[in-house]
C-alpha cells in the first residue's frame, strides 16, 4: 500500500511536469502551428538558469522561480523573432526541423560546459522535510511541485478561456488575418505566446531542478514522452493537454507498481491504442 501511494505520488510529480510542458506545446502549436522540438532543451535551460543564478549570482530558489522563466522566455522571444518568424509561410515541418536544430545546439552547449553528469540543486529551506500522512510519507517539496503546477495550469487555462486577452488569442488561432484587420498586433502576440510557452517549460525546469539533478540531457528524453502525451490528448484543447498530462503521469506511476518493466513504455503503448481507436486524440477535434 505504501509503495502504491508513493509511486502514485511520483506519477503525480511527473504528471505535473508533463502538464506544464504539454500546455506550453499546445499554446505554441495553437498560434504558431509549430511543434516546438526545443521545448525539452528549454526546460533544461530553465533548470540550468536556476542553477547558474544560484552559483554565480547567489540568487536563491524563490527569485529564480520567477527570474529563470523570464530569462528563458526572453531567449524564446529571440528565437521566434530571429528564426521561427521566417518560416510561417513554408511547410510547418520546417518549424519542427528548426526547433530540433535549436535543441541540439542548446543541448550540445550544455554538454560542452557541464559534461553529462548532474549538478545538484538544494531543496529550498522552507520546503525541506516531510509529513507522515499515515498511509504515506509526503515530502513538502513534492507537494509544492504538484500544487504549483496545478495552480499555474489553472491560471493559464483561465487566462485563455475566460479573459479578453485569451479571447483575442483564440481568435488569432482561428483566423489571424481577420484579427489583424481589427487592429490587433498579431505578430507581437505570436512572439509573446512563444515566450509564454517557453517560459512554462522553463518553470517546469526550475521546479524539477531539486528533484532530478540538473543535467544537459534532462529534457531530451522527457520531451518525447510529452509528445506522446500531446498525441493522446489531442492538440485541440488547452484543457485536454493539462488533464492528459496529469493523467498519464498517474498511469505511469501505477504501471510502476503493477508491472515495473512496462513503466517507460506504457505512455507509448497508450498512444498507439488511442491512434487505433480515436485518431484525433481524446480531447481533439477530428482533423
Amino acid at each position: 500500500m505504501q509503495a502504491l501511494f508513493s509511486q502514485l505520488l511520483v506519477g503525480l510529480i511527473n504528471g505535473s511536469f508533463y502538464a506544464l510542458l504539454s500546455l506550453g506545446l499546445a499554446i505554441i502549436f495553437g498560434l504558431l502551428n509549430v511543434i516546438n522540438f526545443a521545448h525539452g532543451a528549454l526546460y533544461t535551460c530553465g533548470a540550468f538558469a536556476a542553477w547558474l543564478l544560484l552559483e554565480y549570482a547567489g540568487v536563491g530558489y524563490w527569485p529564480a522561480l520567477v527570474l529563470a522563466p523570464l530569462l528563458v522566455g526572453l531567449l524564446g522571444v529571440a528565437i521566434e523573432r530571429t528564426m521561427l518568424r521566417r518560416l510561417y509561410r513554408v511547410d510547418p515541418l520546417y518549424g519542427l526541423l528548426l526547433t530540433f536544430g535549436v535543441a541540439l545546439i542548446l543541448q550540445g552547449a550544455f554538454s560542452l560546459r557541464f559534461g553529462s553528469s548532474g549538478q545538484p540543486y538544494q531543496i529550498p529551506a522552507a520546503l525541506q522535510g516531510s509529513v507522515d500522512l499515515g498511509f504515506m510519507v509526503l515530502p513538502y517539496y513534492r507537494a509544492w511541485v504538484v500544487v504549483c503546477s496545478v495552480a499555474v495550469c489553472a491560471a493559464v487555462w483561465w487566462q485563455i478561456e475566460r479573459t479578453r486577452l485569451g479571447a483575442l488569442l483564440r481568435a488569432a488561432t482561428e483566423n489571424p488575418t481577420l484579427v489583424r484587420a481589427f487592429g490587433v498586433n498579431v505578430p507581437r502576440m505570436i512572439t509573446l505566446t512563444y515566450g509564454l510557452g517557453v517560459g512554462l517549460a522553463a518553470l517546469a525546469g526550475v521546479l524539477a531542478a531539486p528533484i532530478y539533478s540538473v543535467r544537459p540531457l534532462m529534457g531530451a528524453d522527457q520531451i518525447i514522452v510529452v509528445f506522446a502525451v500531446v498525441v493522446i490528448g489531442g492538440m485541440g484543447s488547452i484543457f485536454g493537454s493539462i488533464v492528459s498530462g496529469f493523467a498519464l503521469g498517474l498511469v505511469e506511476g501505477m504501471t510502476r507498481v503493477v508491472y515495473p518493466e512496462g513503466s517507460d513504455t506504457v505512455v507509448f503503448v497508450l498512444m498507439a491504442l488511442v491512434l487505433i481507436f480515436k485518431p484525433a486524440g481524446l480531447f481533439g477535434k477530428a482533423a
Partner: protein
C-alpha cells in the same frame, strides 16, 4: 543539361567514384557512409516522395542491426541470409508501425513515429538476452560469401559487398520513384484529397511506401552491423533518427542523389570532429538551423537549380 541530369550519366559518375574510392580513402569510413547513404535514401523515399517526415526511422535501422547480429552470431546463419532475414523483419515492423502512424499526417506523423521509436528503443534496452542491453551485440562474425569463396574479413571485400547492397537498395528506390507508383506518391504529397478523389486508396499507397522505406532502412542497418561487427543501442536512438533527417535535409529532400551527398558529408564531418565530442552536437544543430533558414533545397537542389539557370543562359 536537364536531360543529362535525368539520364544514366550521373549514375555512371557515382558508380565510377564509388568503385575507385576504396583505393584512395579508408574503406571503413566509406562503408559507414554507404550504409547511412542507403538509410538516408530510404528515408527520403518517404519524406521526398510522400511528404511524410518520420522521426523514428532509427528503430528500423537498430532493430535490423540487432536481428542480423543475432542471426549471424547466435544462430550461425550466413552473412547474406542474416541480412535478408533482418530486412524482412524490418519490413514487418514497418507494416505494424506504418499502419498506426499513417492515421495522422504532417507534424503528428513525426511525433507518432518518434514516440513509437522511443518505445522500440526501451524494448531493445530491456530485451537483454537478444540485444545485450547497454553492451549491444559485439564481435559479430563478418562471415563469407558464395559458400566460402569470398572472405568478408578483408576490408576491401567487405566494401564491395556493402557497395553491392547499397546499389541494390538504391536501385529499388530509384525504380520506385520513377514508376507510376512513385507518381501516385507525389500526387498524394501535392494534394491528398485530389488523389483520393481520383480513386487512389491513399492510405494503402502510404503504407506500401512506409514498408518499403522501413525494409531498406533495415537493409542498411543489418549491413552496418556486419561492417562494425556490432549492433548497439546507438543505432536505435532518436539521435540517429535526427541524424538521417539532417543528412537528407543537407543533401536535398526529394532529390535522388541528394541524401548520398548529405550522408557522406555528415559522416566525414563526424569522423573529423570525433575528438571534439560535444561540438559535433552543436555543429549538427547549427547545420540544421542554417539549412532550414537559408538552404531548404539542399546541396542537390541548389546544384540542379544552378545547372538549370546555366543551360537557360545558353
Amino acid at each position: 543539361m536537364e536531360r543529362w541530369l535525368r539520364g544514366w550519366q550521373p549514375f555512371a559518375l557515382l558508380l565510377a567514384a564509388l568503385v575507385v574510392a576504396p583505393f584512395l580513402v579508408y574503406p571503413v569510413f566509406l562503408m559507414k557512409a554507404l550504409c547511412f547513404a542507403l538509410f538516408a535514401c530510404a528515408f527520403n523515399l518517404l519524406l521526398g516522395q510522400v511528404g511524410l517526415l518520420s522521426f523514428g526511422h532509427a528503430m528500423f535501422f537498430g532493430v535490423a542491426a540487432y536481428a542480423a547480429a543475432d542471426l549471424a552470431k547466435e544462430w550461425g546463419l550466413g552473412t547474406l541470409p542474416s541480412v535478408l532475414l533482418a530486412t524482412l523483419l524490418s519490413a514487418v515492423l514497418g507494416l505494424v508501425v506504418g499502419a498506426i502512424a499513417i492515421r495522422r499526417q504532417g507534424i503528428y506523423f513525426a511525433m507518432i513515429t518518434l514516440g513509437l521509436a522511443q518505445m522500440a528503443y526501451f524494448l531493445c534496452l530491456r530485451a537483454e538476452p537478444l540485444t545485450g542491453g547497454e553492451n549491444g551485440v559485439q564481435a559479430v562474425p563478418r562471415g563469407t560469401l558464395f559458400f566460402g569463396q569470398v572472405d568478408l574479413n578483408g576490408n576491401l571485400a567487405m566494401y564491395f559487398f556493402v557497395l553491392a547492397v547499397f546499389l541494390a537498395g538504391f536501385g529499388v528506390i530509384a525504380r520506385a520513384t520513377h514508376s507510376p507508383f512513385g507518381a501516385v506518391l507525389r500526387a498524394i504529397r501535392e494534394h491528398e484529397p485530389r488523389a483520393t478523389s481520383l480513386g487512389y486508396e491513399v492510405n494503402r499507397f502510404k503504407l506500401v511506401a512506409f514498408v518499403l522505406s522501413a525494409a531498406l532502412t533495415g537493409l542498411a542497418g543489418a549491413t552496418k552491423a556486419f561492417v562494425f561487427q556490432l549492433a548497439s543501442l546507438t543505432d536505435a536512438h532518436w539521435q540517429t533518427s535526427g541524424e538521417v533527417v539532417l543528412m537528407t535535409l543537407l543533401g536535398g529532400m526529394g532529390r535522388t542523389y541528394g541524401p548520398i551527398f548529405g550522408a557522406f558529408l555528415i559522416i566525414a564531418l563526424e569522423s573529423y570532429l570525433a575528438d571534439f565530442g560535444g561540438w559535433v552536437t552543436v555543429l549538427r544543430g547549427v547545420i540544421f538551423v542554417v539549412c532550414v533558414l537559408a538552404f531548404r533545397q539542399g546541396i542537390a537542389g541548389t546544384a540542379v537549380a544552378w545547372l538549370r539557370s546555366k543551360s537557360l543562359e545558353r
